[in-house]
Every structure is written in C-alpha cells, then in structure tokens.
C-alpha cells in the first residue's frame, strides 16, 4: 500500500518508552481521581463554588479558549459525578475496599480524558502480553516477518478506520471505545495467526526442525482458537447491543479468524505428523509400502480441505464486504469505494481458485481415463519384459521409488500425484516432451489460463471509473534483488476518474493502491553482528590476502556485503588502500631492483602487456592484484601450502571448507599458468 510508506515515516516510540509513558499517565490519573474523591469527602457541598473560582482563574490566566472549555466540561462532569458520589462517600475512606475501586472506575469511565488514558493503558498491557508471548513462542522474529506484521497491522488499522467512520458512522465516544476494544482483541489474535503462518513457511523449508518448536506453536494456535470461541460469545453481546447487522459484522470476522486458525493448526499438525513419520522411517526403514498408500489418500484429503477452506473463506469475506457495501446507503462515498476496491480482488481470487480446481479435476479425470495405474506386480512384469527399466527406477519428478505408477503413452512412469501436478501445468511428458493434448477437449490447460487477465475494466457507478487489475508477472518487472521462492506478484488497483471527458471544469484524478507481496526469503539489509562481519572479513581475505583486516572491516561495516566490498577493492574505491598501495609500490620497486630472483626484474616489465591482452574483467582483476600488490613471496607461500586437492572434494567436510578449497585451488592454477606464460615470454625475449 502506498499508505504504508506514510506510516513508516511516522515516529513510533519504542515499546519501553511507550510503556513508561502510559504507566505514568495511568498513575497520574489514578492519583488525580483519588484526590478528587478524598476532596469530595471532606467538603462535598463547597466543591461547586470552588470549581467555579478555579474556572474563573483559568479564564483569566489561560489564553487558549479551547483548553479552558475542555476544563469546563471536565469539571462539569466531575461535579455531576460528585453529587452522586456524595451519597455513598462515607464508604470510600478505605482505599482498598471494593466500593472504592468501583467508584474510582466509574469516575474513570464517565470522564473522557481518563477513559482515554485507561484505554491507552489497556493497549499497553496488550502489547506487552503480545511481546512476551512472541518471545516465548517464536524467539526473535526475522526481518521479513516483522515487515509483514507491520504491513498487515497498518492495512488492518486503515480498513477498520474506514469501517468505523465510513460504514458504521460511529459518533459516540463510548461506542468508539467498545469497537476499538473489539478490533484490538481481534487484531491481537490475527497478528498471532499471521505469525504462525509466516513461521510455517520458514519451518517447511528447513531440515533442522525440532518437534518441540512445532508443539509450542501448536499450543499457541490452540490458545488463539479458544480465544476465537470466546469472541463468539462477544458476538452475542454485540447482538444485544447493536442489533442484527452489528452481530453479522462481528460474526463474519470471528468466523474468518477461527477458520484461518484451524487451517494453520491443521497444517502444523500435518507437518508434525510427517516429521515424526519420517523419523520413524529412518529408524525402521521398512514401512514404505502402506506409507505411500497413505500418502496418496492423505494428499487427496489435504487438497480438498485446502480447496474447501479457500472457497469458504473467500465467500465469507465477500459476503462481509457486500454487507458493508449495503450497510452504508450512500453508494458514492469514499468508504464504499474502498470496500469495492477490496471486493474486486476477492472475487478475482475466488474465480481463479475455481479455475484451478477445474484444472485439477480435468487432469485427474484425464489421468484416470487414459493412463493406466500399474500396481507393484505389473511394474515388476514390465521391468522384466523391458531391459531398459530396472527395478530401482525412480519417479523422475520426485526421485523416489515406485509402489504404484501411472504409465504415459510413451512408456514413462510417474507417481500419480507427481504426474497430476505436472499435467495441471503443462500437457506433455516431462521426460520426452510427447505432447499429450486431448483431442476431444479443445481448450488445453496451460499456465496462461491461471494468470489473471491483464486488465479487467468494468463500469462501476460512473462510466469512467475503470478498475485495472494488473498482475505483473513478467521477469523484467521483478526487482533484481529478489530471489523469491513464492511467485512474486504485484497487484495494482488503479482508479481513474477522468472528469474532463464530461465537463471541462471537472477534475481528473487517479488513485493507485498497490498490494505488495513480500518475498519470504529476501536478503534483508539488517545490521550484521561482529561474528558475521569477522567471517565476511575472512572471506574477503581469502581473495585479497595482502589487504589488512582493519581496512576490510571498515569497508564491510559500511557496505554490509562481501560482494560490494570486493568490488570496492577492485575498483580502488577505498582511500586507505590507495595510500597503502602507494607505500607498497615504493618499497616494492626498491625490492625489485635488488631482487636476485630468477625472473625478478623481467616479470615487472612483462606482466603489464600480458595483462592488457586479457579482456575479461574477472581475470583482469586478479591480474591487477598480481601486478601491484601480490608480492612474489606471498605467491610462493601460497604455492607452498599446497593442500591435498583431489576431485571430488571430500564430502564429509562442511560446504564452506570445500568452497575455500576450490577457490584456493583455482587461484593456484591461475598463478601457475601466469608464471609459465611469463617464463616462456622471458625465454623468448632472452633467446635472440
């Protein structure tokens, strides 16, 4: 959203500051009210006149009329309240008694200012609770998760704001407070649901998941679900207060949230189950047969659950939005525009989901009809007949062995699920690319169908309101830094009103709303720790052993990336380095003249032409080092500490070690080559 950038610029105080400020406010408020009560006990009847005098002094001293007006109002309510309190004021002497707290609370609620302070304190408490739950369950969040939560939160706040003031038109302060309470509870749960969802993405791609992490999150999700159940109770409360429409508003949101929670919960449980099964398999490694059978049915069930969930959530959401649209009778208000803007992508999504399901069913039925399912026995028969196949044959899509297989007309075998998910994408054999177009049905399913139409425009209320829904999928538009796993897609909604087409005095404007889907595995530019920096320095030192650590470290702190530091060194963009090099050159020349190495002086004269021959930048860079900075001594050192290099590299070593080994080997090869070339050249020069 474009709004997001605005929100990011807002100075949001840190949690600690916020907590201290709101607790201070609360304490001040409590003391103030306490004073009031004590005061009313002592002299209940003279209060009114005293307040009047205070007010008059205020009128004299405070120049701003606004402040005195609010004071007036505040004192008015206090006076009213005091009159009611004075009857029961006898019991309020003990500050810990129940009635005392009750009166305190009732004064707080009746007074707008202290009510706001109270609400603020409640928010603060909620944030603190949320923060502690986050720390316990998730640990520190990844930057991408923080970013997503922020996005979600601001979007949520924006649309709820629109809902409150555009759709419901709430004016009473108490109503607003009640709604805010509801939304904050809901938002609190939504944030946790979203966090669990994001964390699942991380967990599902990693190989080192411990099951207690999963169990912790499952526990949290259960808690969220219980909260959802109590929210249903609150919905009934809303039915009592605000009538049926309010009830439905609240119900829709609660149902959406609980559906979401159940779905995420199911995903986690499934993941936990597969994880444990996997561990069992490793332990026993024998129960493969019924396992694969289970797999097929489980995948089928999972698919249908997902489908039903998607369709259900989308329809409920659409109904919710339609209700909003109907609730605010004024169709041409800003709020209805925003609601329509939300509604359009929802409907689009539902259509796409249906289309995808159609593709799925088509592929499924086609497979059932045309490609025979071979059982294990039939497979063995086939392997016996055909020498090309061995019983160890694996499915070329998932690289796992067959228990049952579907056979394509070309004779290639695949798992049922693997084949189906491929046929949804492309109607051809993955191995031999034999086209499998169905002659009877002319519309071959391709991926192009799944993409939304480039621009759908419909006439909404006014002929010139066009809603464009551009799904940018082409490669050029992807940001270059994004190495995303999910299909990165940006959706733009463009509202344009071209008034000049109707009357010359009408203005033209356009509103563009962008939903950004963040890429789950982006390389965030977060600050690096010193250990990370040190390892990065080590990396750079591998390439430039001659450059001192501190210079590299300085530059790395600035650039935060190995590549750019290397580039800086290559392009001589580091000032300290230049000074250093000049010194090195001076001493190097001195050494050269006195050097009695076998090809000491000739090397310095010959190496420059040889380097200009080489056009490639990468090699030129290495040559530069060779020319200017790498002394012969260092090269000799490098050649001497020959590690035992043999291909393939020892696979028991960690990846980083193997990487380093390969790089040093290649560098050695390069230097050897350069030396031999120089040798031959100097030989040529010296021979005539």
């Amino acid at each position: 959203m474009a709004l997001r950038h605005l929100f990011e610029k807002l100075p949001i105080p840190s949690l600690r500051l916020y907590t201290s400020i709101s607790s201070l406010l609360l304490i001040g408020n409590l003391i103030y009210i306490n004073q009031l009560i004590q005061f009313s006990d002592d002299s209940g009847h003279t209060l009114k006149s005293e307040y009047n005098t205070i007010n008059t002094t205020n009128f004299e001293t405070v120049s701003s009329v606004n402040i005195s007006e609010t004071l007036n109002a505040v004192s008015g309510t206090i006076v009213k309240k005091n009159e009611s309190i004075s009857a029961e004021s006898l019991a309020t002497n003990d500050p810990l008694s129940l009635t005392y707290i009750q009166t305190l609370f009732s004064i707080m609620i009746s007074e707008p200012l202290s009510l706001l302070i109270l609400v603020n304190a409640a928010y603060c408490a909620l944030t603190l609770v949320g923060k502690s739950i986050q720390l316990v369950v998730f640990g520190t969040l990844r930057p991408i998760e923080v970013q997503r939560i922020k996005d979600k939160f601001w979007n949520y706040a924006f649309y709820k704001f629109i809902f409150l003031f555009g759709v419901l038109n709430v004016e009473d302060l108490n109503d607003i407070v009640l709604w805010l309470l509801w939304f904050s509870l809901l938002g609190f749960l939504i944030v946790f649901c979203q966090l669990c969802k994001d964390r699942f993405e991380l967990l599902s791609v990693s190989t080192s998941v411990r099951s207690w992490e999963l169990i912790k999150i499952i526990g949290l999700l259960n808690f969220v679900f219980c909260c959802c159940m109590s929210l249903f109770g609150l919905c009934l409360f809303g039915l009592n207060i605000g009538g049926l429409s309010v009830f439905f508003f609240m119900l829709a949101e609660t149902v959406l949230l609980s559906l979401d929670t159940v779905y995420v919960l199911a995903k986690y449980c499934m993941h936990l189950y597969t994880l444990q099964q996997h561990q069992q398999q490793i332990a026993s490694s024998s129960t493969a047969i019924d396992n694969s059978n289970n797999n097929e049915t489980r995948l089928l069930i999972a698919y249908y659950c997902e489908f039903i969930f998607d369709v259900l959530t989308l329809t409920i959401d659409i109904c919710h939005h339609l209700q909003m649209l109907l609730h605010c009778n004024i169709f041409l208000s800003m709020a209805s525009l925003v609601v329509c803007m939300q509604l359009k992508p929802l409907i689009d999504e539902l259509m796409q989901r249906m289309k995808r399901h159609n593709l799925y069913r088509l592929a499924m039925s086609k497979m059932e009809q045309k490609y025979p399912l071979l059982t294990k026995y039939e497979l063995e028969e086939k392997f016996k007949k055909n020498r090309n196949y061995s019983p160890d044959e694996v499915c070329s899509i998932c690289w796992e062995r067959f228990e049952k297989a579907r056979c394509l007309p070309c004779g290639h075998l695949f798992h049922q699920n693997c084949l189906r998910s491929w046929l949804e994408q492309d109607p051809s054999c993955p191995v031999c690319r034999l086209p499998l177009h169905d002659e009877t049905s002319p519309s071959a399913p391709t991926t192009a169908n799944v993409q939304p139409q480039p621009a759908a425009s419909f006439n909404l209320f006014w002929p010139s309101f066009t809603v464009g829904n551009n799904a940018r999928t082409s490669q050029q538009q992807q940001p270059q830094g994004a190495v995303g796993n999910a299909v990165p897609r940006q959706r733009n909604h463009l509202f344009r009103f071209d008034g000049s087409r109707y009357a010359s005095w009408l203005p033209s404007f356009s509103v563009e709303v962008t939903h950004t889907h963040n890429f789950p595995f982006r390389f965030g530019r977060q600050r690096l720790s010193t250990t990370q920096l040190n390892t990065m320095v080590q990396h750079v030192r591998q390439i430039f052993p001659q450059i001192p650590n501190n210079i590299i470290l300085n530059d790395l702190q600035r650039t935060q990336s190995i590549d750019s530091t290397i580039n800086n060194i290559m392009d001589r963009r580091i000032r300290d380095l230049n000074i250093l090099e000049q010194q090195a050159d001076a001493t190097g020349n001195h050494l050269d003249s006195s050097d009695t190495d076998s090809y000491g002086s000739s090397s310095s004269s010959n190496s420059s032409p040889s380097s200009s021959d080489v056009e490639d930048s990468d090699i030129r860079q290495t040559t530069n080092i060779n020319n200017s900075t790498l002394s012969e001594l260092q090269i000799d050192n490098m050649m001497n500490d020959q590690e035992l290099y043999s291909w393939p590299l020892d696979h028991r070593k960690p990846f980083s070690d193997r990487k380093r080994q390969l790089i040093t080997h290649m560098r050695r090869c390069y230097i050897e080559r350069e030396r031999s070339q120089l040798q031959t050249k100097s030989d040529l020069l010296s021979s005539p």
Binding site: L202, S204, V205, S206, T207, S208, H271, T274, L299, A302, S396, I397, C398, W399, E400, C418, S421, W422, Q425, D426, S428, P430, V431, R433, T446, T447, A448, Q475, Q480, G481, V483, G484, N485, A486, V487, F521, D563, N567, V614, E615, D616, S617, D618, I619, W647, P648, L649, H651, F655, R658, K659, L662, I663, M666, C669, Y670, R673
Partner: protein
C-alpha cells in the same frame, strides 16, 4: 507441498556431494533454509578439450551463483543469479542467467522457444549447472 520438494532437494544434494561433476560445487546456504543454494562454477579447459586452443576468458575463474527454489520445486524452475560479476551475452547485468531450461514451462510468449526447450521436472540442479558451464565455455 514443500515436503516433497524438500525431499527431492536433499536427494539432489546427496548426489551432488558424493558424485559431483567436474569443477562444480553446490549446496544450500544454511540448514535453516534448504531452498536457497549457492553454487560455485569453475571452468578448466581440461574438461572441455573441444573448445579450441585459445581457450575461454572464463578459464580459472570461480563464479558464484545463487539458486532460489520455489516451494513446488521440481514443477517450477529455480531462479539462478550470479553474484560474481560476469560479462557474457547470456547473463544480465544483475546476474540473472538467460538459459532456456530455466524458463517456466508452457509456450514461449515470444514464439521463439518451443516448449521442449523449457523447464521440465526431469531437469536437476546438476543439469542446470552443467548447461551454464557449457554456456560459458562455448
């Protein structure tokens, strides 16, 4: 589902470490995220005797690339991007590699490639890296 993709990636990693092709090193960047790989590509003329006496300017270079796999991995191709600077007609300035087997399946919108040249789940990381090597050596 990410589960089968993960299993396939683990299988490929096993194969690539125990029996790697000449001069190619590839592996996941961290255990936390198995869908983000780093690959080191080197060219030694010994492995390409046919490319002529003059050799290639990329000889002796070590080129680092990053591979990002989608969650439905063998069905959609990974994205490959060189992090080291490389001057080659098939490599964009930002390091993306233009090679037909990395293009997602389906018909080419430009009508230039047939669908047979594009990604298929039969391809593997090893095959991708070998094609890139031959692209650089050719």
């Amino acid at each position: 589902m990410a589960g089968s993709a993960l299993r396939r990636l683990i299988a490929e990693y096993k194969q690539l470490t125990t029996n790697p092709p000449d001069g190619i090193l590839a592996g996941p960047m961290s255990e936390e995220n198995f869908f983000e790989w780093e690959a080191l590509i080197t060219l030694l003329l010994k492995s390409f005797p046919s490319s002529g006496p003059s050799g290639t300017p990329f000889e002796f270079g070590v080129f680092v690339a990053r591979l990002a796999f989608p969650t439905d991995y063998p069905l959609s191709p990974p994205k490959m991007r060189f992090t080291s600077e490389l001057f080659h007609p098939n490599i964009y300035a930002d390091g993306r590699v233009c090679i037909s087997i990395l293009h997602s399946p389906g018909e080419d919108p430009m009508g230039y490639e047939t669908s047979a040249e594009r990604w298929s789940p039969v391809q593997s990381i090893e095959k991708i890296l070998l094609s890139v090597v031959s692209l650089l050596a050719g």
